[in-house]
Structures are given as structure tokens and as C-alpha cells.
């Protein structure tokens, strides 16, 4: 007998209560495989490719785009292909528990049964994701270039508007938002298409443009997650200043002959050092759910990416301890491009927003000296890297100019104690002193 599986609106984080189905990428009767993107969702985190976690045939599409539904709503049914399917683990997964938690706390979430059916992730898929795609990187300068901001491009794409056919009123004939709006008004077919404005937050802010609307929603999502974090997680904070002379020298050496595209940034070194240190301190890598801590099976590090239009997206890199520094850099480049909605780079995938086991926030060159992050539940720690500073240092008894940065750890005291957190920071500092071993 074949088994039917419900495919539900996934919870892409503790802050997500609903999502909008924008487009099906498959049809009824189509055979799909594990890890395949089957739909495009519009969420507070932007457009996301929703993946399926089974091999089988789609038998029903129960929700038609464009529609906003609560997390856990059954969107489609799939008939399992027994021979090919990997048996999903019977154990409750993080996503399941997350959505249960959501269903318990959100009053509008009446259908708890469906919420429990959110499918488990499968790790073999995460492994497949490690191949960084750098498609179209050779095509940065197009001959028939249309000037338009990412927001304009995104909206044009959603409304099926060919930007090259729109006469732009901005400088260099750049297509502005108002040009798109004019175009939409002139086209009743397009105008009839529902878009972001269907989301319930519209009630609060009816006259906002779609991109303002999305920003509002993103802010609401950040507010929900961070408030929940601060209300439930007893945070404590530690920091340590670390010399990064060796890491900087090492990078200078390996970047010497590289083109800008292959250039490796310090953040890739730091992420690898964090991942390897977490191998020794698994108490920081996991989830606090149902009053107990569960270690994660993989080190999936979410990296905070700020968007030019405001807000942040926090997609994860999978199994970072198994990647080389250059693979981490390529994966970061790739995920950053997708998070920043450069349409030629593709979209973020649902797995990238679901399986982070810890978060890192990095100030980069132009940020502050120190950053103490707010833990993203149900994770139990967030690591913050301040900017690299030139400082006087005593090296081999001589006063010299060196580089340092301050790393911070915000930790959940329900799981982690100060001494453990301190040991972790010291071990991390040691790792960073041996960049060649990363």
C-alpha cells in the first residue's frame, strides 16, 4: 500500500506564524525528489524556495496561489515512493517541535493537528546544499542593462513585468517603483493579481508600498522573535579580545594571487574556527525545547545578513565544520547574494532557514568594536564578532602594531554556565591563532 504524506506550510523559524504560497513549481502527477524546490513562498524573510523532504508523486494541490495560510496548513499531498524514499526519522524534529510551540502560543492557530505534520528535514539534503552555486558571476555587466533597485526587480518579477520594456523615469533611465506602479495600473490583468497586500498586517498600514510593507513585516518578525527570546531565555554575556595578527597575515598570503571573486574574508576563518570549537563544546550547539536541551547533530551556523533596504535575514550554512575556509567563503557569497534578493542568484531555500543550530553575527570592517547578540530561539547561543582594530601590542617583548577583535558570547543560562562559556571563548581564541590548521 502506498502512503500519503501531507505537505504543509513550513515554519521557517520561531517568529513565523504564516506564509504566502506564491507559486507552485510542480504539477499534480509530477514525480518529485527529496530536496526539490516545489513551491515559492513569500515570507517575512522574502521569497523562499520550499523544498520537499520525500521522494514521491504529487497527488493533490490543496491550496492555490496566491494565498496566505498559517504554518502547518496542508498545501499538497504526496504519494510516497517506497523504494526510493528515505525513511524519515520517527523522532520529533526541531521543526515539528517549533511549530507545535507556535501552535500552542498563537491563539489563531486552531488546527494543531496540521501543525504537527510539518515534515522532518533530512540531513543528506543539507549535505547536497554545500555545493556553492556561483552561476552568472561571469555576467555581472549585461549589455542591455536596465537600472533598477533589487526591490523594483523583485516586484517586476512578481508581477511578470519585463523591466527592459518599462521606460524608467530615474537617472540613467533607471526604472523606479512608480514606473512599475504605473505599468501595473495600465494593465488590469496584472493589477488584479494579489500580492503582499493580502497579508493581514495591511490593516495597520494600508497605504504602504509593497517593499515598505515587506520591511514592516520583517520588522514585525524580528520583533516577535527577539521579544520571545528576551522573555524566555535567561541570557548572560561574556567577551574576550583576541589577537588576529596571524589570521590577517595568513589571509594576506592566501589572497595575494586571488581575484576579488576568490578573495577570502576574515569572517570565513572565524566561522570555521567557531565550528571546530563547537565540536568540542556541543552544549552550545543545539536547541532548548520542552524544558530540556537537545544537542544538534550538525553544526549549522546561521550568519546574520543585513539588507540594504533594512532588516536582516539569517540563513544558515550547513555542517560548517566539514567545509574548508574557501568553501565557507563561497557558500557565504552565494547565500548573501540570494538573501539580498539578486534575482539572478536564486532564492533562499526553506532548509536554510529551518536548521540553524547556532548564530554568528559579524560586524565587519565598519561596525562597532563589540556586539552582544540576542539568541534566536530555540538556539542557546549567539556569537558576536566586533570589527578588527589596529592596536599597540607587546609581541616578543617589543611594542608593535597588531590587530585584534572582540568576540562575545550571549548564552542561555538554562543550558550553559559561565565557566563553560569562558572555556569556549578561550578555545576559540586559540583556534584563531592557528589559521593554517582550519
Amino acid at each position: 500500500m502506498t502512503k500519503s504524506i501531507d505537505i504543509t506550510m513550513p515554519s521557517l523559524g520561531a517568529d513565523m506564524s504564516e506564509g504566502m504560497l506564491v507559486k507552485w513549481l510542480i504539477n499534480v502527477g509530477e514525480y518529485v525528489h527529496h530536496g526539490q524546490a516545489i513551491a515559492v513562498l513569500e515570507t517575512q524573510k522574502g521569497a523562499i524556495d520550499m523544498e520537499v523532504y520525500y521522494d514521491g508523486t504529487i497527488t493533490e494541490l490543496l491550496v492555490q496561489p496566491i494565498k496566505t495560510v498559517p504554518v502547518g496548513t496542508v498545501l499538497a499531498k504526496l504519494e510516497l515512493n517506497k523504494e526510493l524514499s528515505k525513511q524519515p526519522s520517527e523522532k520529533l524534529t526541531i521543526e515539528q517541535e517549533q511549530s507545535e510551540e507556535l501552535s500552542a502560543t498563537d491563539s489563531h492557530f486552531s488546527d494543531k493537528k496540521t501543525a504537527e505534520k510539518v515534515q522532518p528535514t533530512n540531513k543528506s539534503f543539507a549535505a547536497k546544499q554545500q555545493e556553492p552555486k556561483l552561476k552568472n558571476s561571469n555576467n555581472l555587466v549585461s549589455k542591455t542593462r536596465v537600472f533598477a533597485s533589487p526591490v523594483v526587480r523583485k516586484i517586476a518579477k512578481q508581477k511578470n513585468i519585463d523591466l527592459s520594456a518599462v521606460s524608467g523615469s530615474g537617472a540613467n533611465n533607471a526604472v523606479l517603483l512608480k514606473d512599475i506602479e504605473r505599468c501595473t495600473e495600465n494593465n488590469t490583468e496584472h493589477a488584479a493579481e494579489p500580492n503582499f497586500q493580502k497579508l493581514p498586517t495591511q490593516k495597520v498600514s494600508e497605504k504602504k508600498s509593497p517593499e515598505q510593507q515587506q520591511l514592516t513585516e520583517m520588522r514585525a518578525a524580528i520583533a516577535a522573535a527577539m521579544t520571545k527570546s528576551k522573555q524566555h531565555i535567561p541570557h548572560f554575556y561574556l567577551s574576550k579580545t583576541i589577537e588576529v595578527n596571524k589570521a590577517q597575515q595568513w589571509l594576506e598570503q592566501i589572497n595575494q594571487d586571488k581575484s576579488p571573486k576568490e578573495h577570502i574574508l576574515l569572517v570565513a576563518v572565524l566561522l570555521k574556527a567557531v565550528a571546530l570549537t563547537l565540536n568540542k563544546y556541543p552544549e552550545l550547539n543545539g536547541f532548548y525545547l520542552n524544558d530540556h536541551f537537545e544537542k544538534a547533530d550538525e553544526i549549522n551556523i546561521a550568519n546574520v545578513i543585513s539588507l540594504r533596504t533594512g532588516g536582516v535575514v539569517v540563513p544558515s550554512l550547513q555542517a560548517v565544520d566539514t567545509l574548508s575556509v574557501s568553501q565557507i567563503m563561497a557558500a557565504l557569497q552565494n547565500v548573501t547574494a540570494r538573501a539580498r534578493a539578486k534575482e539572478e542568484s536564486g532564492r533562499l531555500r526553506s532548509s536554510e532557514l529551518m536548521n540553524a543550530s547556532i548564530t554568528v553575527t559579524n560586524m565587519g570592517d565598519r561596525g562597532a568594536d563589540n556586539v552582544f547578540g540576542v539568541i534566536y530561539p530555540p538556539q542557546v547561543a549567539i556569537i558576536g564578532f566586533g570589527k578588527v582594530k589596529k592596536t599597540p601590542q607587546v609581541i616578543d617583548g617589543e611594542l608593535a602594531i597588531g590587530f585584534e577583535l572582540t568576540v562575545s558570547l550571549s548564552a542561555d543560562h538554562r543550558v550553559i554556565d559561565g565557566i563553560l562559556a569562558g572555556k569556549f571563548l578561550n578555545a576559540l581564541a586559540k583556534r584563531i591563532q592557528k589559521p593554517e590548521q582550519l
Binding site: 537600472f147 533597485s149 595575494q256 576579488p260 557569497q333
Partner: protein, 84 residues
Amino acid sequence: MNTEKLEQLIIESIQEIAPEIELNDIDFDEDIREECDLDSMDFINYLEALKKASGINIAEADYAQLYTFNHTLAFLQAQTHNDH
């Protein structure tokens, strides 16, 4: 290549990363990263775009000469001059 054309190359490369930036938004003597709000990832992506657009090889050692618009202009001029 004349200065105007080089300026155009630079601004188009910046716009690959920061589409909202116009030439007259930028103080040519200030750090491009500050002027155009580029983080380190944006900056290397911008340099890659500039390399592609100009056909001029940009190495790690050159980065320090590319932090302001005017310095970048001078760098590109010197490089194109060397080629001829």
C-alpha cells in the same frame, strides 16, 4: 580610456552592488565603502564587477589604492596607460 568613461565604469560597478547610488551621491575623496554603504562582501563584489568591466586585473595588494573614487580613477588610468 578617457576620464568620463572610467567614471562611468566605476559607477556602473558600484551600482551592481548598490543600485540606488548615483555619481553625484559620492564624495570622490572619501572612502567608497562609507560613501556607498558597502560591507566587506559588497566591496569585493564591487571590485570583481570593476575588474570585469575594465578588463584590468585587480590583486589584493591593489585594494588599498581603491578605497576612494579618485584613487580608483587614478589606478585605472595608470593601468590603462601601462597597457598602451
